[in-house]
């Protein structure tokens, strides 16, 4: 299924923090209920990465965060994701010079956002520039891979402009986007 992002068609906020760090909205479900969803933007937990924030959303967990392992049957997934990304746009407009990150360590999450950016390239390109991050391990001249003192390979992140030819079989490890300049 192709997900169509349209910032003119979003769910209205129920609660909105004045710094846009969190926002809640209700998404109608196929069983007739309404599911409250929390969109949460956190400063990246690594203090060495200034101006990078994390984006996530899901049902509130009651402790300020959200559950991202719950399977929901939204009536309109296009509108849900448009709402989440529109909130990101609001945040980035308000906090100039910041970038939004999406952790791709969960395959389902990575595939979802990869698909959304790929299939809405022209539309989202009006607002955002997207990058993807791969991990690389250095190979020494003698063929050995760089390892730490415990023998684990040392992976290093390498960002690049989002390559729209990459399919969902070739996901990035991490996604970062920011406003167009």
């Amino acid at each position: 299924m192709i997900i169509n992002i349209n910032f003119k068609d979003t769910y209205p906020p129920i609660n909105l923090e004045d710094d846009f760090l969190t926002m809640t909205f209700e998404s109608p479900q196929k069983d007739g209920s309404n599911q409250l969803l929390l969109v949460k933007i956190d400063h990246h937990n690594d203090p060495l990465l200034p101006n990078v924030y994390n984006l996530g959303f899901g049902p509130p967990n009651g402790q300020g965060g959200f559950l991202d392992d719950v399977r929901l049957k939204h009536v309109n997934i296009h509108r849900v994701l448009s709402t989440v990304l529109f909130h990101s746009l609001n945040f980035l407009e308000l906090h100039t010079g910041t970038a939004m990150g999406i952790d791709g360590s969960d395959d389902l999450r990575a595939a979802l956002y990869h698909h959304v950016f790929r299939s809405n390239r022209a539309y989202l390109g009006q607002f955002f520039t997207a990058t993807g991050v791969d991990w690389y391990v250095r190979i020494f001249r003698d063929g050995r891979y760089e390892q730490d003192e415990y023998g684990y390979y040392i992976a290093k992140p390498r960002p690049e402009l989002f390559d729209y030819r990459r399919t969902r079989q070739d996901l990035y490890r991490y996604y970062i986007f920011r406003l167009n300049e």
Binding site: P13, E17, D18, S105, A122, W135, P157, L161, Y174, R178
Partner: protein
């Protein structure tokens, strides 16, 4: 902004004025209405995958420089 499609076509896109208006409305909503809140909840952030591959300030500086370079290539 100018985009290049996979087949080499040049696509010109600009932000829709209705979207800009909607952004402005959200900002007014936050400034003027009662449904705004201020965060009072503590957040416990779990280390994400990017944190696990950035081990030092040099790693972080290199990464941010490469990220900036990637964004600049989009211009």
């Amino acid at each position: 902004m100018i985009l290049f499609s996979d087949d080499g076509l040049i696509i010109f896109v600009i932000m829709d004025s209705k979207i800009q208006k909607k952004l402005d409305e959200y900002r007014k909503l936050v400034n003027n209405h009662s449904n705004k809140t201020t965060s009072t909840i503590s957040t416990t952030r779990q280390p994400d995958s990017l944190s696990q591959v950035i081990r030092s300030k040099k790693d972080a500086d290199d990464f941010m420089a490469e990220l900036e370079s990637a964004f600049k290539r989009a211009k």
